[in-house]
Symmetry: C2
Subunit: 309 residues, 2 copies
């Protein structure tokens, strides 16, 4: 057991937001490299309809070819019962995950249903997973703010989290979908939820839109949360494209913890090599992790110095 | 009095690290725009030898033309007694600042003297300022880590800070020159220094090299520090150049505090407009503040939507 658990969401939450479609072979190579770097929890894909998210249209094929790795847990998103059945058919993905928003407007835009209606649709999916003995995560979106409704009441987040756990999910990941959260909110939410549910069942999922991914991870750690979602290189956002809003970068989270002597079990050097490969050979666009960019800068200076001397 | 004080170092610490030399008129426009945005403490230049830092070779001319603004305090760096005399001659800069590193290697590289030798050279400068009734800040570099020596002992930082205050400086800014610090270090240092010196005399100066500028500002605030150095747009670093290592961005610090209900007295909208101007009309290269980039992304999406119909 490491002191904190980092759940890698790059292959799913990251790649689904890329403008280009990454090949199946590259996706598999990415998952393999992440496992080699020490990630023990990797969200590989989403079993959504291919029309919804063309970037993840190969989810069945990907799931069928996932490499069996001791101690590595694969996860897949399931939007509904049909998605859950595809997840089960794959046989190689260990955990499933559903998603729901706290805010009505965001939920409506996402799945064209009210929060209550969507919750009712998730219940049979959660039931099926429980019957099958499959751990089921719930992603709670807009837990810190909504693009349309603004600040989200912590009471609503606490209620939804409690209802999801009561319905049978194994863990809940609270997502700051638009990256507006501040540390005080993280503390407030963790304290309120911690009174009802053991914090071992809570993960935090931050986006770095306003540069607060890392400060909110730190706040979550101080508040007692030990699982954090992150994406390699800060995948999913680009600072030079409109709508930049990547996940907090795995490298940045690993370095934050490791520098503080908190064991993540992850090899930062291997992560940096993987991001370099992804940037150069797969995506062809610069990735935004600060730790990655600093390391690339260090190497470039070293190279220039060697050439000069 | 605002709840926190943000000391803007962009015109000095930012521009001195830019590859190009910004014109005097643009520098003056920048200072004026910063004052308009609500900054009450602006480091305008460094009275160094023009051969040292060509980007700031116009310091005398700049100082002579600084606009008199009620409540705005201008500061200038003075490397030595000669620099201090130029600072005094200008008559328009309110505060001076000297700098020294904690680490021997860094100090040697910077000023070609040991820390003790450099300290001895600073004493007459600090004395002169005290005689003149001029508040003198000291910047303590490599307070969280040194590129050559690695981790810096907090005891050494505490000792140097205490010696500087005993010598007569009004305040000390502790700089994380290479951006390696973590929140635990900030807490440790603030607690140790707070036992000897009122924290009102301490400022913190973070670079965002590893994405920890904001988390360290937050840690400093929680530890009782109320003054933070920052630079507009994250000036001074570029993520696509080797050696990227900008100051923590003023916009990102302002948004961190304001979103938490902590008054900075600064108009974020005016900052964003200034960064847009600086990026487009002055530097011609993208600036890295996350808050700035998010706002630009929002505007671009809005524009595209309006065009689409």
């Amino acid at each position: 057991m490491t002191a904190v658990r980092i759940h890698e969401v790059g292959p799913r939450d990251g790649l689904q937001n890329e403008s280009q479609v990454v090949s199946l072979d590259d996706k598999l190579a990415l998952v393999e490299r992440l496992a080699d770097a020490g990630l023990r929890s990797i969200e590989c894909t989403s079993f959504v309809s291919p029309e919804w998210i063309p970037q993840l249209a190969d989810s069945d094929a990907l799931a069928a070819r996932l490499p069996a790795r001791e101690g590595v847990e694969y996860r897949g998103l399931v939007p509904n019962l049909k998605g859950y059945e595809r997840f089960r058919a794959s046989g190689r993905v260990h955990r499933a995950a559903v998603f729901i928003s706290v805010s009505e407007t965001h939920n409506k835009k996402n799945v064209n249903r009210s929060v209550a209606e969507h919750f009712d649709r998730l219940v049979p999916v959660i039931d099926r997973a429980r019957d099958d003995g499959v751990p089921m995560r719930a992603y709670v979106s807009t837990a810190f703010g909504c693009p349309d409704e603004g600040r989200v009441a912590p009471e609503a987040v606490v209620k939804l989290t409690r209802d999801l756990v009561a319905a049978g999910v194994s863990d809940v990941s609270l997502g700051d979908t638009i990256g507006v959260g501040v540390p005080g909110q993280v503390h407030e939410l963790a304290a309120a939820i911690g009174e009802l549910i053991p914090l071992e069942r809570i993960a935090l999922h931050f986006h770095d839109t306003y540069g607060r991914g890392i400060v909110n991870v730190q706040a979550g750690y101080e508040a007692g949360v030990r699982e954090f979602d992150a994406s390699l290189g800060g995948l999913g956002g680009c600072p030079y494209a409109p709508g930049a809003a990547g996940n907090v970068a795995t490298e940045d989270v690993v370095d934050l913890f490791e520098r503080a002597g908190i064991d993540t079990g992850i090899d930062l050097h291997a992560l940096v090599e993987t991001t370099a490969w992804l940037e150069r050979d797969v995506l062809g666009r610069p990735l935004t992790s600060r730790v990655y960019r600093a390391e690339m800068g260090r190497r470039e200076r070293h190279r220039q110095k060697a050439e000069a001397g």
